[in-house]
């Protein structure tokens, strides 16, 4: 279907189902129960899931296929956001021109950075991209203040021109009148599910991005990128110049990052310089590796996992912990709360770090490998282990 193989179609359909049903899947607990703390099905977080999913999918096209580890992808995310907010300031709150321009700006920016950085490979490439990203961050933070509004972040003011804005247009971001923040709440008994326009807009773009990424993975071009990863020297000895391929991959992944940045701004019209900071670049590397570099679905899983930790664990404070352990004797309760509080609230980075270590040590193929192992174990137990499909030969996809 759609020009992709059967297995890929299955993956695409699974992702499509997860994305479209996310408001229900992510809200498994009734709204007023104690477990509602762990619900993630509110629009802002779901939007982040799919937006950072797009970011990671794009990063994976570069890192997963060519093996070039870029530590500066946040620069494209930030450039995309700034471009989108400028479109809101100058044209109107319609998201279409903003998203388009963010892709174009980020792609052009990645031509520049990619052209220079790809003269080197390995660690030197990583350091070059990191340097460029930090330069962009510092420029956005202070030097280019008229363009970026520095640390305060670029925002839309009522005094901005907005030349294309019609009379009755909403004063929030919208898609031809359909407000991004509009949502419909479906209440089923104690459960409440939020379906938001902004989320579905992002989710549909994520599915398109995912589909394009599948096509790239399966194309002759994708095969060439894998050849760059497995042995760049041999490739050049056969008389092929691999740099244009790597540059194309770099630009495509830069455009993906720009799209993600544009969508972030479309959901919330503010662009801050910290979006370009090296921690943001590191985050997308973490997402890709945590989920499974070089796999199709891995980056999306990794993005979801990290954003979940950041938004859910960081909000568990000592009061919440006390209410969980309230049934225990006093001394024990205080002790448990003390230990647990190091891993949640402001300590959520610690949890994330531990998870990352565990995944890298025990599941080098990321969460995807974990899923495969579970799948295999189940199959073995049912006695259906096919001798022809041994695990080692299976590519991690």
């Amino acid at each position: 279907m759609l020009g992709i193989g059967k297995r890929d179609t299955t993956i695409l359909l699974v992702v499509a189902f997860m994305a479209l049903a996310a408001p229900i899947i992510l809200n498994p607990f009734p709204a007023n129960s104690a477990m509602a703390q762990f619900n993630a099905g509110y629009p802002d977080l779901m939007q982040r899931f799919v937006i950072f999913g797009i970011f990671a999918i794009g990063f994976n096209i570069l890192f997963g296929l060519t093996g070039y580890l870029s530590f500066g992808h946040a620069a494209f995310l930030g450039a995309g956001s700034y471009a989108a907010v400028w479109m809101f300031k100058l044209l109107s709150f319609n998201v279409i021109p903003a998203v388009l321009l963010s892709i174009v700006v980020a792609a052009l920016f990645s031509v520049l950075i990619g052209f220079i950085s790809l003269r080197r490979s390995g660690i030197y490439f990583s350091i070059l991209t990191l340097a460029f990203a930090q330069m962009s961050y510092n420029l956005a933070y202070s030097v280019l203040t008229p363009l970026t509004n520095g640390e305060t972040g670029l925002q839309v003011y009522t005094s901005d021109p907005q030349y294309l804005r019609g009379e009755g247009d909403p004063i929030v971001t919208h898609l031809f009148g359909l407000e991004m923040r509009a949502k419909e709440t479906l209440e089923l008994g104690p459960w409440a599910f939020d379906f938001s326009v902004g989320y579905y807009f992002c989710a549909i773009l994520m599915l398109i991005s995912f589909y394009i990424s599948i096509r790239i993975f399966r194309s002759p071009f994708g095969l060439m990128l894998r050849a760059v990863k497995s042995n760049n020297h041999r490739l050049s000895y056969t008389g092929l110049n691999s740099r244009p391929y790597a540059l194309t991959a770099f630009i495509i992944s830069g455009a993906y990052a720009g799209l993600a940045g544009g969508l972030l701004a479309a959901m919330d019209p503010l662009a801050g310089a910290e979006r370009m900071q090296w921690t943001a670049s590191g985050e997308v590397v973490l997402m890709t590796i945590l989920g499974g570099a070089g796999t199709l679905i891995g980056p999306v899983l990794g993005a979801g996992f990290i954003k979940y930790c950041e938004n859910i664990f960081s909000k568990i404070n000592e009061n919440v912990l006390h209410s969980w352990f309230a049934a225990l004797p006093d001394g024990l309760e205080t002790g448990l709360v003390w230990v647990a509080s190091k891993f949640v609230g402001e300590g959520w980075h610690l949890t994330l770090g531990l998870m990352f270590m565990l995944v890298v040590i025990f599941l080098p193929g990321g969460l995807v490998e974990g899923g495969q192992r579970i799948g295999r174990a189940l199959r073995r137990r049912r006695g259906q282990d096919e001798p022809g499909r041994s695990a080692a030969k299976e590519p991690a996809e």
Partner: protein, 448 residues
Amino acid sequence: MTTRNFTRRGVMKSTAVTAGGLALPTIFTGSSAAAFTNEPTGSTVTLGFNVPQTGAYAEEGLDELRAQQLAVEHLNGEGDGGMLNTFSSKVLDGTGIMGKRVEFVTGDTQTKSDVARATAQSMIQKDGAVMINGGSSSGVAIAVQGLCQEAGVIFMAGLTHSNDTTGKDKKRNGFRHFFNGYMSGAALGPVLEQAYGNERRAYHLTADYTWGWTQEESMIAATEALGWETVETVLTPVGAGDFSSYIAPVMNSGADVLILNHYGGDMVNSLTQAVQFGLRDRQVNGNNFEIIVPLYSELMAAGAGEAIKGVYGSMNWNWQLQDEGTAAFTRSFGEKYGFPPSGSAHTCYVQTLLYADAVTRAGSFNPCAVVEALEGFEFDGMGNGPTLYRAEDHQCFKDVLVMKGAENPTTPFDNLEIVEVTPVEQVMYEPDHPMFAGGDLGECNPGE
């Protein structure tokens, strides 16, 4: 590379998915029944406390959180009631807000606008918060204030000292109790004239964001009015850690006063390093070299230790004040946590009480009713003397404290001493003052 086989099942599946995708937007056309965002319908009401728990301003943020929890206790009738007993408005009776028990959720802003907006969004969308309180940086406060305006909830700003919060970036749904850069300058001016005279040359090191810029602007205006000369202004990144490369050039600049427009951990580092470089032992132009920190806090003073002795600055409030409200708040905070509250803790505590009071007086949680109740509200007994919430810009007007690093502190908590309580008339300005011009409150937004 590609395979194309249209099976009947495959086509049907894809058709169903596409149709589902296309049909989805139509379910958004209905309208919801609530009158405003997060109308509390149960027996509780949720407030969101959005403070930095990590990063350069974490110390301030954690102290704000302590005060906010204390405010919730007092609103729910637990503890000794604190400032509820001294507050001039008597509608709050310790039964929560309008009979609803107060609950709260917390978030970590990391002192980053993006993160702060995400945590505030989750409080509004997931936890149903009707009011967001907090922010230990003006950049963050302005970003979150804009979000609250769009979402239709009330924003009670915590520690934010930039002129822009109630100037260029003011919003109808946002309120600030804390003072601002202009007030610091206006209060410090006369004291500095008396202490250091009219012929001084000032060098500014300024945190590079909205607060630093407006603070610098205000201090330049105040000092140049005294006849001082501004030698140089240098912007430094927030969270720089090491300021030695910025301090070395000060020595050869011919300046005899260093004004540090820094806050939090940055101010601790820059002041300590300036003292270690021996700036204060120098004689320039026949004057002793002096350092000024326009915005002081207890936590910074504690961090800087010996370095702050004799350094002038200003504060919104200090626990050493002698009025009833201050005594009540300091007592209940001290009993709970074992040390006196900081100025940032005070402002968050007061803001939470003011919000609860405004809701009760308005008889509704509707943001528009709350805005109406707070605009032009005059109150007393909150530690700052008679105070006005001005309707034109949602800024509180009250006395400002000029402080000085104590020469001989007796405890770790009285390392600052009050030099002067500048009366409110002296720090008053018109809403359209050039430093505050260009903003527009807009209309109140109840959301939904």
